[in-house]
Amino acid sequence: MSESVSQAPAPEVATTGLLGGSARVAAAPPKRNEFIYYGLRNPKLLFGLTVEVLLVLAAIIAPFFAKYAPLTTTNMPVQHPGSTFWLGTDLNGYDMYSQLTNGLRESYLIGALGALFATIVGLVIGFLAGWRGGWLDEILQLITNVLVMIPSLVLLIVIGSYLTSRSILFEGTFIGLTTWPWVARAVRAQTFSLRSREYVDLARLSGKRPVSIVVKEIAPNMASYLFLVIILLFGSSMLIAASYDFLGLGPSQTVSLGYMMNQAASNSALFYHMWWVFIPPGAVLTLMVFALLIANVGLDEVFNPKLREQ
């Protein structure tokens, strides 16, 4: 029943450890608080989280301070950042502050949508394939592999050309539907590994159904891993969205960070030394993703005791 490599179980060492009987019973805290304890002390996690939270707050609140709509011209083009236009205006007279803050919001929205869809689809498919195995697994793996091989950019161009206009929902869904394979693979591998654990057998012996077992026994043991995957997914969604928008494949009539960079490139902002047009969106995008990645590394340390610097 156990999948240990040794021929017969080794005697009791791991379970009792040093602290012996009664004291250990009093001393050790429940495991979940341990994560919070270490989490609050991990500099990378704190840094990443703080930056991200600030940016999200900015995305929510800052657009309210914009005096102009992002795509309404102020009729005062090429203004340096100053007291009237905090981040200046571009060649078309659009207010850069307004574009940046609204763009930040849109980028977050698209990133979140993409990550959400990818997570849901990836989880379902990963759990199904991992739990059932057999031919269902083979079929789902086939689908996954095919999807991974299709170049999503080309697909986007082809689909995009049939649509008259593209919405945020479309872009988010598209990103979700093209990035779920990564989630599915991770979930499938973990599920495979976890389903042969003895506590899963015990749940079966207690008359539990597969759905209950997957949700209550397996998923919580993957929770930290899933968390990390989802955070990474969020970051990559935003980056992918930015690259689509940069190429002009983003949602129509929507300002996002990628769109801003697209405009900066097509209006030769660099050539005209209009740094306030392309540096802010690039810097903010970099910061968004960077903070997430740093937080992710920190979170990995929190969940995995062996990585902690003692």
């Binding site: 490599v5 040794s6 021929q7 009792t16 040093l18 012996g20 009987g21």
Partner: protein, 336 residues
């Protein structure tokens, strides 16, 4: 004396302060002696054995010294120890057979080992290696295999071969027979004895919880309880006439083949070993000991009751003193 350990104490660092896993332990091994170090989990036997060879980052010595072949062993100095490992002292850690790197062939693991110890005459070592493999019934093609291609017993024997290839004076074997089938257990046990008989190792400390295996292969047995030595005696003496109440209870709880529950009811020992983070004062077994009395709140000394037989128990010391006092033939003024 091949090995001598004097008042050794080893502690673990933990968030809540240091936990002393080995408390003031002293013993010595003669050349060619295989000592069995027995105890239950949490007794500190693994810590003691491992500390003699490799103190990992969590452990530290808080007192005492160790000497092998007359020279002091700097166990707390990792750099100095690196030169002494494998050549003077060697360790087969617990779960070693599960810890062989699965991506390298056995032969490669051995050549890595030789390289890291700057062994000059590789050919001589390889000849010796083939001889030893044949001795224990492993074919030479095992060198070309990966660890997962071998059975548990074969892997265990490979780890012992690797640990003893450079002929250490002291081999510490931690639970090497525990996870094996009965027939392989015997093969591995006899392998240790054979290696000692042929001089591949000078002396050995076998750490296990299984007293019956020790009865087969060990020359002497030391029983550890809650970080301290409770009893140490030659094997036949300990098995036939144990003195410490813990040893007696332990032996009484072992079922022998042929004994059935309707013939003899075995009893365990009520209670549990004390926590090493906060051990009780005095004798650590007193809370579970049927013979405990007032003096047991003081720590009993680990003293020689009979030649070669050391016990840490007030009851035993008292009985010994009484026997000596009433021993016939002693002039009155020499009585205690």
């Amino acid at each position: 004396m091949s090995v001598s350990v004097e008042k050794l104490s080893v502690a673990y660092r933990s968030r809540r302060g240091d936990v002393t896993a080995v408390d003031n332990v002293s013993f010595s091994l003669a050349d060619g002696e295989i000592m069995g170090l027995a105890g239950e989990s949490g007794s500190g036997k693994s810590t003691l054995g491992n500390a003699l060879v490799y103190l990992d980052a969590r452990m530290k010595t808080t007192g005492g010294k160790v000497a092998v072949d007359g020279r002091e062993l700097p166990i707390s100095d990792n750099n100095a120890m690196r030169h002494r490992r494998m050549t003077e002292v060697s360790l087969v850690p617990q779960y070693a057979m599960s810890a062989l790197t699965p991506t390298r062939k056995i032969g490669k693991l051995i050549s890595d080992l030789l390289k890291s110890h700057h062994v000059k005459d590789k050919d001589a070592v390889y000849t010796e290696l083939s001889r030893r493999l044949a001795l224990i019934g492993l074919k030479e093609d095992v060198l070309g295999k990966y660890s997962f291609e071998l059975s548990g017993g074969m892997r265990q024997r490979v780890t012992i071969i690797m640990s003893t290839l450079l002929n250490p004076s002291l081999l510490v074997a931690d639970e090497v027979t525990s996870a094996l089938d009965v027939s392989t257990q015997r093969a591995v046990g006899e392998m240790l004895v054979e290696f000692r008989d042929r001089g591949y190792i000078k002396s050995a400390i076998t750490i296990t919880h299984d007293l019956s295996i020790l009865a087969q292969i060990a020359d002497s047995i030391a029983i550890m309880y809650a970080g301290r030595l409770a009893e140490r005696a030659p094997t036949s003496v300990l098995v036939d006439s144990p003195l410490h109440p813990y040893t007696q209870a332990l032996l009484a709880s072992l079922p022998a083949v042929g004994v059935r529950h309707d013939q003899v009811t075995l009893t365990g020992i009520p209670g549990r070993p004390p926590s090493l983070a906060n051990p009780p004062s005095g004798c650590r077994f007193r809370e579970r000991c049927p013979f405990a009395f007032a003096k047991c709140t003081e720590t009993p000394p680990f003293e020689e009751i009979k030649p070669g037989h050391l016990v840490a128990c007030w009851k035993v010391s008292q009985e010994q003193a009484e026997t000596a006092a009433t021993a016939p033939g002693l002039p009155l003024k020499e009585q205690v």
